[in-house]
Symmetry: D2
Subunit: 307 residues, 4 copies
């Protein structure tokens, strides 16, 4: 059997033609400026083996991937109650008519997921300042990645905050229904800082390894979440992790994962590894075009798919 | 034929049993405190004749009735262009999925109309401060009512502003679609002050007399809007003036009118008069229960209905 | 003052350039074949005076205008109960998500109104055969127009029936919610025959004269509906008579009316007259382009508008 | 390690208290009559080992589980083109406003999935009679289960057909948008017969074993679908297999599966086995209450979950 590194090399080389396809997110200048043809990939296995390709150590904006960390923090703090606030189905929830509103105007990102993420942020803010809440989130990510150099990209955070009208609309609506308790401005501050955390493929893969190991970091043996909560997060990633293309991703890659508009995708291979890829150009559904292709190729070679 | 005053007396006396029916708006304390059994009515004819009943000279919060004055100001300033921003149909517009969202949560007020009003306010703010914009609106109302004692109820304005999450949600959504240009906070400040203008039935009837006279105040002969715009405002009041009960109102009263959650209703009798009523208890659709009944009785007696 | 005929001539001549604008309904061949540049107009006053212009005596397919006759029949048979089945507001009803579905696919006709019309037809079918029910409707129209030569265009009826998938969808949905009681096939048979009644402008104006006269035919003195029901029908026409352009029509024409995709429009001038126009080319909202223009010109000259 | 049979026994015994919870589907008499406290379970492994519990050999109505077989047939006949007709995402498709309509009326079954299934049936009908099409479907199921005693329950089929107003509404709507090509009556005939196929847990588990073995029946070595299509079907079951509770099922059971309102559920354990359970009482989402509990218990013991 070829080595892990060889398999990663082969998979990534086979999809280099895909790197030039798609469009970089340009709703804020700080994202639009990212060189469009960057490409990185990293594997970290539960036994600690690593493999890298291309720009695997260059940090980028994790954006919606941060929702995995936020729900991890919220599950530990609020247990089952967080689901009563948030829900965990791919459709049929209380906010789907806002989804429709969005769709009518052609916005590619699923605001239901944003709506959920804002409620999670609101829950995490309970009883503390925005600074403390943001710091806690960053510290959790540093702990998970076992790397305290990870930081927030302040320019991205500010830029997101300045243009967060859609999220502000969602948050005010939910506030008027009593589903948001803190000030909207505070919720948006924390949420935009969380999305603006910058991480490399290596750090991302490392930081989600606990989800491949029943909730416990297999390297440091730190208990992050219990097995039951780990399964819940994996199920959520499988069913809702890729905006309106979650079904397509489940078919092509067959692994729980989460993508962000910064061009990153992280997937969990239960009992085996975590894999992160980065390629800034997005397909029509807002997922990294070359990143998805690389994961598909890797999974074909390794037979890591669970579906 | 009985005198105008006699007709008003008869109509109002015949519906006194209706005054105790319904529920006062209680979403802000300043409205909830209004004595529930107040009842006033006033007629002002195009020839200057007046008739009053009950609490006809006591000011109350005009709320959504202010939208008639805002659209009057916007029509004069922006002419046809305001319709491109706002639309004028009772249904089938770009924001109806927000309407649905609202309906699913059982909110009785039609936010589509609020969405429209916020865009009008945004247009009026163009090139001026919130203070100047609010003052202009108040001065317009004073001019229309020929009464410079009319004022904003600051407690109501502040209270509305503090609880305006739903309107903030609408405004942020519209901003994210590029339909609002000013800061949301400024738009809400001006909008809440406009809704909090306090007027009596006498002042309200007097202030809408221009709509019964092809756009010109028949007493002072001040030209307010041209005939074409006056017809447009009357058509809008006929089709959309009473939330989800506009069809019912058109059948029972048969006149263009506008209601507010403060319990006021004003109707225009083309070429004849303007009539205002006030009774704080609202029916399930958010319109004054006794007020509607009084107008229905008056119209049956006077044959003023146009339908 | 110019004679009625002179006023009609002037109004119609002033809009002849509009006859070539718009698109004839072509969803069935029998409608698509109608010469696109036909134009007719007819006035019948409550005192029996008549005026004609152009193709005023040529029959055309009345289509949705038939809903005025159906609701007249239903009101007389079921009184208030029909509103419990049908509703009478321009928006905010149980079927608005079907409306939205339709809109997303760009269909110009408001199916809510179709949904309502199908329920009315279902009610009228109660206790009789489709043939008897269709005959009753035709006899009512003949009585109203005082003209027993009026007939159903069988080719149009059959063609409508063959392509009535959308209406079948609406009817089956309503049946699944228990709102339709007869067989869907029977309801569609009767409905399609009703829409295929062929009438001239003269016959149409004559047949709605009772709505200008408190529910009683002013020529034959036949009592058709009571005053209260006549007001209800007029209010419904004012608020919902012209699909998604009812607000625009109320502004431009200022009279209760009903249009059909056959290019006909009938309006009621309370206490004065009924007016029918016919021009097959439709605007984007499915209303006769030249017909609306002619009514607008006539109303400007006669000051017949009530708004 | 305990034997397969011992593990199944333990899992099923541990949830016997759950058998009495929930409500049997009663929209047709033939389903309502099924004894509510039936309970069966069957495992068939890729190596041919079998285990049974309770009423594992008693046939019941498979209902929506039949969609797995229909999509299998359609994939083989139309390849990729079937997805262009049908779509494969858990949300965000052209028919979601019908979903909403349904939800507003509290119907527990997700009609989007029905809408999709009707389009699949329409495709399968292409070029053949309803009898041939129904027979082909039954023959496919007999082949998959390696058991030619499997039959349609004609009483259930007729009963479904007689009450299929909602599906008729969906089909007519789709026909009006050009998405259904055959007669609605034919589509509903075939669809209702397919849902009325009666199978036991043993037959169901056996018939889906190809999905646990990359598309090939591991016992007979019959090639059913290629690996790529097998993954697609598994992904669809994982994301959409359990109405509005697919997220909950993914978390609790962590396997691709499909449930039916007859109380059956089948799940695929990739490379290992297929499992079917049957317990007629349904939870609020329309899935078998005790069946889900049994699968959850079995998966906890066997560690068969992939998430």
């Amino acid at each position: 059997m070829p080595s892990l590194q060889a398999q990663l090399n082969l998979a990534c080389q086979s999809i280099q033609h895909a790197i030039g396809v798609g469009k970089v997110a340009d709703y804020i200048p700080a994202l639009a400026r990212v060189p469009a043809d960057k490409f990185g990939a990293a594997i970290v296995t539960v036994s600690g083996e690593k493999a890298f390709f291309g720009d695997a150590r260059e940090p980028f904006s994790i954006q919606s991937i941060s929702k995995v960390f936020a729900i991890t923090a919220a599950l530990n703090r609020f247990e089952q109650q967080i689901w009563e606030r948030v829900g965990h189905e791919p459709s049929g929830n209380a906010f789907n008519s806002i989804v429709q509103l969005e769709k009518e105007h052609g916005i590619p990102r699923n605001p239901f997921i944003n709506a959920r993420a804002l409620v999670v942020t609101d829950a995490l803010l309970e009883g503390q300042t925005t600074t403390d809440c943001s710091n806690q989130m960053l510290e959790l990510v540093q702990l998970l990645a076992d790397d305290d150099t990870i930081a927030v990209d302040n320019e991205v955070a500010q830029s997101e905050r300045d243009t967060s009208h859609r999220n502000a609309g969602l948050a005010h609506f939910m506030r008027s229904f009593g589903r948001i308790e803190n000030s909207i401005s505070d919720v948006l501050d924390v949420y935009c800082r969380q999305c603006a955390i910058a991480m490399s493929c290596e750090q991302l893969a490392r930081s989600t390894l606990y989800l491949a190991n029943n909730g416990t970091d297999p390297i440091t043996e730190t208990h992050i979440v219990n097995e039951e909560r780990g399964r819940r997060i994996n199920a959520m990633m499988m069913l809702c992790g890729h905006y309106d293309a979650s079904g397509d991703f489940a078919h092509r890659v067959g692994l729980p994962g989460k993508s962000g508009v910064g061009g990153g995708i992280v997937v969990v291979v239960p009992d085996v590894a975590a894999v992160a890829v980065w390629a800034p150009r997005l397909n029509a559904n807002g997922n990294s075009h070359a990143g998805t292709a690389a994961l598909e190729a890797l999974v074909r070679a390794t037979k890591w798919n669970v579906l």
